[in-house]
Symmetry: none
Subunit: 253 residues, 2 copies
DNA sequence: ACGCTCGATTTGTATATACAAGTAGATTTT
DNA sequence: AAAATCTACTTGTATATACAAATCGAGCGT
């Protein structure tokens, strides 16, 4: 019997190199391998897992690129020192935000339909061009004044019933969070002069700079995108407990 | 003659997979391969470079992990859409950031002196009006192009020798972080038309919206402020591409 | 004791081969 | 015309093999 495996490498859909990565991450997270410690060599991992050395090598190489391990030729592989963690940004509900600072929240749904994804959008969502996606455009208001506009593209796989929801009672963000846990998020912020249809709905003119927050959300391999445009003059706070009274904070819908 | 190479793979000390990566990056940077475009298949790259498919595969896989490419099984390899550039917080230095993505970093110090704090600034820093503060204005450039402008007001108590530093070799942020641990941070983001002196230094006109990040830092009870203005069109990411599953919060790095 | 060499171990890279799996377009069938 | 099927091409993974290069310690000679 050649393969005396210390761990179980299944034949599921998960690639073997990924299973080896998971195994190593587990041992680090469980504390069995402390930061700075030398871990098993490739040869030992081969013996433990039953996969080939090249597969083990790939797993170790990727974990090194991801900053979890440090390797030294001739010496060995070590658990990387922990990288410093920084401030966190809470996701909170825009409706709650507005109510908490005494405003009257309302929203208008300007679009809620299915569309064909144009190639660039399709690529961003890892879909075939002109696939069916759900699209919503919602304007959030505080005492009747437009505060932010959010344009969302949803992969029907995530939320088949997205179009049937009543987003005047639950925000899209709250609804989507209730369906599945988010795997990963990426944000991009930019300042720009908004397009005419956005300016129109937000009631701003063509000279006012607008803050846009683009968010891409992964639920497993499935992707949703959301672009939020903020009313000019709004300021958006990240972290920090001591918000001065001058700058209110704007939530994410 | 088996190898009819379109590019020259030398036998130097640089690994071949790295040379292939460089070749691809070159073609992207030169504009030969535009974002969204399909690039050569693995087979074509093998023919062009003379290395094995596995080596080409490694180069492509790593570039994909680094966010420069997008691959779709059965379809092809594509140049990724604009790679989100600079990190929002210079927890790691802006200089490092720029160099890491292949640019040439430089900076200009436009002001480094002590000033009297005007009332509103004094209030923000919890100082008596017209107290002495240190003020620095620095423009960071990538290949000579202005990328961001930072204007800092420092409480002399934190950094008595602030004015004597050579900020061409160490960024203010790095220097300040080396002095004392930060107790608390607050950020405010806004989109605005920058003031004339800022537009002048960033070489932008009065129609271009500018992204501003205001940061207030507490070291104990002592406060420093920093306003960073970003060159229009730049986009900035919050949270990494490889964010591990952590629901509900977004890391800033 | 000191320095040296040598060999075992470990990581780093490169290749050929093989098969799986997804895509897109052409072709055939219905 | 529409649907189903086929096929060529592409990427994704896994393995065995080979050699290069760095490290570390054992053993040797002076």
């Amino acid at each position: 019997m050649k393969t005396r495996r210390a761990i179980n490498i299944s034949t599921d859909d998960i690639p073997r190199y990924q299973q080896v990565k998971d195994y190593i991450i587990d041992r680090i997270n469980s504390g069995a391998w402390q930061p700075g410690m030398k871990i098993d060599s490739e040869a030992e991992l081969v013996a433990a897992t039953g996969v080939s050395r090249m597969t083990v090598n790939r797993a170790l190489r990727e974990l090194t690129a991801e900053g979890r391990l440090t390797r030294m030729q001739g010496s060995g592989t070590f658990v990387a020192e922990q990288k410093p963690q920084s401030a966190l940004l809470e996701i909170h509900s825009i409706a709650q935000e507005i109510r908490e600072r005494g405003g009257k929240y309302s929203c208008e749904i300007h679009s809620l339909q299915e569309e064909k994804a144009r190639p660039d959008l399709a690529r961003a969502m890892s879909l075939a061009p002109y696939s069916t996606v759900y699209h919503s455009v919602i304007v959030h208001k505080d005492n009747g004044v437009p505060i932010q506009l959010s344009s969302r593209f949803i992969n029907p796989k995530i939320a088949p019933d997205y179009l049937k929801q009543d987003f005047t009672t639950i925000t899209p963000n709250e609804y989507l969070l209730s369906l599945a846990p988010i795997t990963s998020v990426e944000h991009v912020i930019e300042a720009l002069i908004a397009e005419p249809w956005v300016r129109d709905l937000l009631e701003i003119n063509s000279a006012e700079p607008c803050l846009a927050l683009h968010r891409k959300t992964w639920v497993g391999e499935v992707i949703a995108t959301c672009s939020t445009f903020y009313y000019p003059g709004s300021r958006y706070t990240l972290g920090g407990r001591f918000t001065p009274p001058s700058a209110g904070s704007i939530g994410i819908s």
